[in-house]
Symmetry: D2
Subunit: 138 residues, 4 copies
Amino acid sequence: MVKHETRIRVQYYETDAMGIVHHSNYIRYFETARTEFFRSRGYSYDRMEKSGVYMPVLTVSAEYKAAILYDEEISVICWIEKLKGASLSLGYEVRNAHTGELHAKGTSSHGFTDLKLKPVRLKRVAPEIYGVLKAAAE
Amino acid sequence: MVKHETRIRVQYYETDAMGIVHHSNYIRYFETARTEFFRSRGYSYDRMEKSGVYMPVLTVSAEYKAAILYDEEISVICWIEKLKGASLSLGYEVRNAHTGELHAKGTSSHGFTDLKLKPVRLKRVAPEIYGVLKAAAE
Amino acid sequence: MVKHETRIRVQYYETDAMGIVHHSNYIRYFETARTEFFRSRGYSYDRMEKSGVYMPVLTVSAEYKAAILYDEEISVICWIEKLKGASLSLGYEVRNAHTGELHAKGTSSHGFTDLKLKPVRLKRVAPEIYGVLKAAAE
Amino acid sequence: MVKHETRIRVQYYETDAMGIVHHSNYIRYFETARTEFFRSRGYSYDRMEKSGVYMPVLTVSAEYKAAILYDEEISVICWIEKLKGASLSLGYEVRNAHTGELHAKGTSSHGFTDLKLKPVRLKRVAPEIYGVLKAAAE
């Protein structure tokens, strides 16, 4: 299974009055991580959308383990948990890029749809992308 | 069980290039809803923090059902799913404020801690708040 | 001159590690305020866009006077500083909704364009909207 | 004069329903750019704050020239426009990292203060930082 790592420098505007990264921003880090994961496989979102494939978010979850501080460099690891004909589940881990300390774990699931958000079977409409994801999932 | 409703007008800066509210913002709507829920019970976050009680987020989840559009008025319903000695689970529903259409469901769980994020038993450190939450949970 | 006031409750996710509202969020408050200002004149953005009129931001500025704290209720006052054939300047003041203390002042300027962001003369393409804005500016 | 360049990959959550980066996010890009500019001079914000020097934002302005699209790689150039005893002005340009196309120009000004936001003269409280900034400004 491919585990892709994306490094992110925490920004001041992502912190809150508790002096730590606001919990909603982890959901954004997950998005950045899966975007870079797909890019690393040769399919930027842009290229996927040009192939007519959209991946709206169906569910998202996060489990917070340890606060992230301002200016910390984090490493977000992303992998495919399950690839099905019309949907995809991803797993995430957020760690300190240097110490490896675990900050959070998460998941997201996505449908494959066309531009009008009508579900499609990825294998049929974009077999090449399906193959690439299949390979990364194994 | 008390189900508290908070109305929110969707802002342009909350939309994304798909023309809909970005999924990360639902997590922020949940926060607004639980803040107003606590305020409605007589305990604004501010007042809780002044009582020395903090409620860091332990987990969060969202299930997206239907896109929210710009300028839509939404209604976020929040209730206590489970109150324990040192933690709390909340449930959420996001609906169109006028048609009642369900946009999303969600949950969050929180620990009770002191300022230094050390877990505390709410019943002991703030029995009055515990009583108010207990009543709202039933 | 019409001065329209919009009340906003400051959210936790808008604060930063200094314990105050992050300065970038004032620009978002300005947007909320001008949206409500236009709505109060009978022209929500939605309705303007349906009339084929877009108002992209050309410039924005803010002058910060006093920090805004979490959970504060603020009042954002918005008015038309100058209405021209193809553009519009707006002024803003951010105040505490209760004490009136001045937190910030700001401006934004906007072009009138069609959907493809090609400049248009508002007076010609949407004389009714032009009339309403003209009246509010005087 | 030192002109420091920071590369930023535009995120999906930074776009809006017009399909472009929301104008408020440029203010955040400016912050990222000045943070990296200071880091490149040996003074991360963290290190400055540990030296007891804070730099609250006094004013900010942006002039929008051309929309930024999702997934674009931008380059934000930041430099010192004026260094005074108790304040600092910075200039910014946002360009496409590959074509160099100008997206926006901006400015920000900052006071030097202590932790309690009381103005201080940088030259006196932190002569080393003052010297570094002076050199970068020339």
